[in-house]
């Protein structure tokens, strides 16, 4: 584990004092099980007589299905069922969208679990087989004969906007899903009048998150027609609601159990065809049916393919006066899953941490014949940060100013918070302090001196800064994708607590943080708090895991509920200890009188007394040691103000990054020489969890900046289908990462917490891109096409030498 650098500046604006065991390195619950391979994931669940499904997918990016002959497949040994799209259409409904673009003025389309007449992307499910074993099911796929008539297709977003481009969906006259404007002031006028203007373009290739555990589902219908659906999913309750709708059964007849996740990252948002497909297959064969996504199937899921075309006006001191950006997001064939919304966030995140009064950003989501997106950590923020941070560096380069100086001149100063932009109400921030902290951590000024020496010797060494603003905890009304959540806290007669919550963990360990929060309220050990997540029969309705929200809302709801339980306990203890409730202290698993510590009760004796003696003992009259509370973030502004400003996100953590790279001038290979990051997510509950999320996010950002890509061939098919073709960073690819943390609590959030989980991805992408371009600066060339692979970098170097 890396050393955790203590916050350099003390906590400020703390609404309430932070009690123990918060800000402590409590060991992760179940960490030993996970590390020793005994944690148990979806594929480890075995129900008696389970059958297995395999999915036949379109090899074409666009085609008409003229017919499907399943007779040979049905005759294969072990095959119990072969299902086509036409058959499925009569049995189940359309899949509700994770977030329907029509809710915010976009177009929409209907998707089913199996394509019926037309396929619009390679990999679209067209038929399914159920057999006794996975092998038998997969082998039978080869015997299904589909008669396709290939149709013209389009893969590139710009090409999809051409007037003669093939369209995807009935009733659409072009391929624009939605245009999302984010603007304040009059950028056009400022750009027209400014002395200094520069423009440019940045392209980001399609890539994804590649969780180690792929998706999987196991459906089982009981004799009472009740469905139990085990799912590797991030959103069990919304998935339950949608499944009930698709399958046309009462929601109370569906139980979704979200299993332990080996990574979520947005890849496990719901809306996939296989979810309802597996339920339907299980109903038709009358036995449990399991399906687990292969790596190849996983890699079909896309994300993050953007183009930014920008212009920026600035003054001679490097102050940015105006900004225009036209963003194109190639969201693939839409689907019902939760990906297209990244184009919203990619625009909404502008203008980042900077005080720019005149900006005009439009983010356009374009559909193409690539497979649909799903969420990917960063969720568009990494795209925005890359463009914004490159723009700042370009301004610095034009004026020959240090990029750190230009950032300082443009940051929103701490005293201007809360700060409005078109679609954000920023809670709090000390951006300059975070930047200074990371520059200090990286030894920035010495790095620059060293770089000058190395440049003189002809070496391509680059230092890049990246600053990331990370809107978190989003609330999207109209959909089952909300910013609030609900938790229950109950105490048992032994004085231990159980939390049941609507938020889930994607494998990050937030259950440990929730236990710490409840333990702090009740004065007990986190080891005496169990956390139950993901089972819709047990947990209150909630929205699961997205947008780094689990601890800030699920944990906050648990805090409120724990306070209710403590109040009941305090009234009982006041009777038993003969002291006023306000004179009681809950700590160390005991409750005692503030002025007489010897007058104390162990929590188990106190809870035991409530259960055993209420109404039998005078004054002891309330036995409710259980409470369910919903926490609603106070900084969500769904209704636009008189200036049209709104803010679906309540929480704005941020981070500052410095990357050092060296480029091999003969091969274009980029080597990371150093990395430093400073993160601020407000009040920290568990530094180890925050640190590990930050490190993971940085690794993911570096992977996306340098190696990870899902390239498509001219045939419309994905070219990277294994980890030998889709290059994830391995440990030797990464440098030592120095980290620091700063604590600037949100004045709007309970305990001052801000989301932590996504933070780091965007800053890493931006700082690596800036470092690589800084290294190339002496050659007078830039690479603005991501990832910054060796062939692209070498091509730029060669261009310089010509």
């Amino acid at each position: 584990m890396t050393e955790i650098v203590a916050p350099r500046v003390g906590r400020t604006q703390v609404a309430e004092e932070v009690p123990a065991p918060l800000f402590e390195q409590v060991r992760r619950k179940d960490g030993d099980l996970v590390l020793t391979g005994r944690g148990g994931y979806l594929d480890d669940i075995v129900l008696p007589d389970t059958l297995h499904a395999a999915v036949l997918r379109s090899p074409h990016p666009h085609a008409t299905i003229r017919g499907i002959d399943t007779s040979a497949a049905r005759a294969r040994p072990g095959v119990r069922l072969v299902l086509t799209g036409r058959e499925a259409r009569d049995a189940v409904g359309i899949i509700p969208h994770f977030f329907d673009p029509a809710l915010v003025g976009g177009r929409t389309a209907d998707f089913r679990c199996l394509a019926v007449d037309t396929v619009v992307y390679e990999g679209e499910p067209v038929a399914a087989v159920v057999a006794g074993t996975v092998h038998a099911a997969q082998a039978a796929l080869d015997a299904v004969v589909v008669d396709y008539e290939p149709l013209p297709f389009v893969l590139d977003a710009d090409a999809a906007l051409e007037p003669d481009a093939p369209t995807l969906f009935d009733g659409w006259d072009d391929n624009v899903l939605i245009r999302l404007p984010f603007a304040e002031g009059d950028a056009g006028a400022v750009l027209a009048a400014a002395e200094h203007v520069l423009d440019g373009e940045i392209r980001i290739g399609r890539y994804q998150t590649a969780p180690l555990e792929t998706r999987g589902y196991l459906a089982s219908w009981g004799p009472d027609d009740r469905l139990t659906f085990y799912a590797s999913t991030q959103n069990p309750h919304p998935l339950r609601s949608h499944l009930a709708e698709i399958l046309d059964v009462p929601e109370s007849s569906v139980r979704v159990v979200a299993t332990r996740l080996g990574g979520g990252f947005g890849h496990k948002f719901h809306g996939y065809p296989e979810e309802s497909l597996v339920c339907l297959l299980a109903r038709l064969v009358g036995a449990p049916v399991k399906w687990v996504e292969s790596r190849e199937e996983c890699m079909l899921v896309g994300a993050r393919e953007f183009v930014h075309r920008f212009a920026v006006a600035y003054d001679g001191d490097g102050r940015i006066l105006a900004l225009r950006d036209r963003i194109l997001g190639n969201v693939g064939a839409l689907g019902a899953s939760g990906g297209w919304g990244m184009t919203f966030v990619a625009g909404m995140a502008f203008p980042g941490p900077y005080r720019i009064k005149d900006y005009d950003v439009e983010s356009v989501a374009v559909v193409t014949h690539k497979p649909p997106w799903n969420g990917a950590r960063g969720y568009g923020k990494e795209s925005a940060a890359l463009a914004i941070e490159r723009i700042v560096d370009l301004v610095a380069a034009e004026l020959a100013l240090d990029p750190a100086v230009v950032r300082r001149r443009n940051f929103i100063p701490p005293e201007e918070f809360p700060y409005w932009t078109a679609a954000k109400h920023l809670d709090s921030g000390r951006y300059t302090a975070a930047l200074d902290h990371v520059l200090d951590l990286a030894g920035y000024h010495e790095l620059r001196r060293e770089q000058a020496r190395e440049r003189a010797a002809g070496r391509l060494v680059g230092v890049g800064i990246g600053f990331e603003l990370t809107p978190e905890g989003g609330d999207f009304s109209g959909a089952l994708l909300r910013g609030f959540d609900t938790s229950t806290v109950r105490m048992d007669p032994t004085g231990r607590a159980t939390v049941l919550t609507g938020v889930t963990s994607p494998g990050t360990g937030n259950e440990t943080g929730i236990a710490q929060l409840v333990a702090a309220e009740l004065g007990i050990s986190p080891h005496d708090v169990s956390v139950v997540q993901g089972d819709t029969d047990l947990c209150p309705y909630g929205y699961g895991n997205f947008s780094s929200r689990s601890l800030t809302v699920g944990g906050a709801a648990a805090v409120l509920a724990a306070r209710d339980v403590r109040d009941t306990l305090a009234r009982a203890a006041a009777v038993l200890l003969e002291t006023p409730p306000e004179n009681l202290v809950f700590t160390g698993g005991r409750v005692h009188a503030l002025d007489a510590p010897e007058r104390a009760l162990r929590m188990r004796d106190l809870a035991g007394a409530v259960f055993r003696r209420t109404i039998a003992l005078p004054g002891l009259d309330d036995a409710q040691l259980e409470s369910t509370r919903t926490y609603t973030p106070s900084n969500v502004h769904n209704i636009p103000d008189e200036q049209g400003r709104w803010s679906p996100y309540p929480s704005f953590p941020y981070s500052a990054h410095v990357t050092v790279v060296e480029i091999d001038p003969d091969t274009g290979v980029v080597t990371l020489r150093g990395y430093s990051g400073v993160h601020d997510c407000g009040t920290i509950v568990n530094p180890v969890l925050v640190e590990s999320q930050f490190l993971g996010a940085i690794a993911m950002g570096i992977g996306g900046a340098l190696w990870e890509e899902l390239p498509y061939g001219a045939d419309g098919r994905l070219r990277a289908r294994t980890f030998k073709q889709y290059l994830m960073p391995r440990a030797p690819d990464l440098p030592w990462i120095n980290t620091g943390h700063q604590v600037t609590p949100s004045p709007f959030a309970l305990l001052g917490m801000k989301g932590s989980g996504e933070s780091g991805t965007a800053g890493a992408v931006a700082s690596v891109a800036n470092a690589v371009n800084d290294a190339l600066a002496p050659l007078g060339v830039r690479v603005h096409e991501m990832p910054l692979s060796a062939p692209r970098v070498l091509s730029a170097i060669r261009e310089a030498r010509r």
């Binding site: 092998h135 190849e296 070219r719 289908r721 030998k724 960073p729 060796a790």
Partner: protein, 285 residues
């Protein structure tokens, strides 16, 4: 999980293995270390009803005799790496084995002969075997025969192996030589993008022969005589001219999803140069 049912054969005699391969034709596959075959079968890219496993043929060995080393077909990279028999130009195989992507798990499973039979352009072994002057000993229905590595690799994933024929051993000469091996890859998990294996032989009068074999830059290895580009001591005379010379020898560069053909041609020169540089310390192995 392999989707199709198959029969696993583990013959104890070479003739039986050949007979099985002859009997089942394309339905049969030779199973060596399995690091390529089994994942491909799991993904459904290859289907074989019969797998002929070489594990009982006693083909795990590295033996030196009369100036040649012979490596059994089931010898893993890890065993090659640990072998003290591979000296001189044959030490190239150890150098390549040390850098096989996939770490200890793969080095303990993958084999030199298996990699040769796979003939993936973007891999270490084809170029190394050609550079080392290896000879592949094959066995088929017509009995044994030997094919020099330079003639064995016919193209991408294509070898001189005839139907029902298999690689039994790889023979490598133990010529005293300076060696160099450089591999360019994009990241730790990447296939090789370009490799160069170099042998330089010297006598008291200076360099007597020098060759660079490029791997991964084209469908099959390219061997280039570079003696005239070296000084008598073995140092490169003109780096820029050398790069251009090497690039000019790459007619049809290999293209895949990791690197376009133009990139492979572009880096061929520097990769060759870096391998050559390693021989300049003058040490003969």
């Amino acid at each position: 999980m392999i989707r199709s049912t198959l029969t696993h054969h583990a013959p104890e005699r070479l003739a039986d293995a050949t007979a099985l391969l002859a009997e089942h034709g394309a339905a049969a596959a030779v199973l060596g270390g399995g690091t390529v075959l089994l994942p491909a079968m799991v993904r459904g890219e290859r289907t074989h009803r019969h797998v002929v496993d070489l594990r009982r043929l006693e083909l795990v060995f590295v033996q030196a005799e009369a100036g040649w080393a012979e490596i059994g077909a089931m010898t893993t990279y890890a065993q090659v790496l640990a072998s003290g028999e591979l000296t001189g130009s044959a030490a190239l195989l150890r150098r390549a084995a040390a850098g096989i992507t996939g770490g200890a798990q793969l080095r303990n499973q993958g084999t030199v002969a298996g990699s040769a039979a796979y003939a993936n352009p973007a891999s270490d072994m084809p170029g190394c075997l050609v550079a080392a002057g290896a000879v592949l000993r094959l066995h088929g229905p017509d009995g044994p025969r030997e094919v020099p590595a330079a003639e064995f690799f016919r193209g991408a994933f294509t070898t001189a192996l005839r139907p029902a024929e298999m690689v039994v051993t790889v023979r490598v000469p133990l010529r005293p030589a300076r060696i160099g091996y450089y591999k360019l890859k994009l990241s730790e998990s990447s296939w090789p993008i370009a490799t160069a294996a170099v042998t330089v032989e010297v006598s008291a009068d200076g360099v007597t022969s020098a060759a660079v074999t490029l791997g991964a830059v084209a469908a099959q290895p390219i061997t280039i005589d570079v003696a005239e580009h070296l000084s008598a001591q073995g140092a490169l005379r003109d780096e820029v001219g050398f790069d251009e010379f090497v690039r000019s020898r790459v007619d049809e560069p290999w293209d895949d999803e990791l690197a376009p053909a133009s990139y492979r041609r572009e880096v061929a020169g520097v990769v060759a140069r870096r391998a050559l540089k390693q021989t300049e310390d003058g040490e003969q192995r």
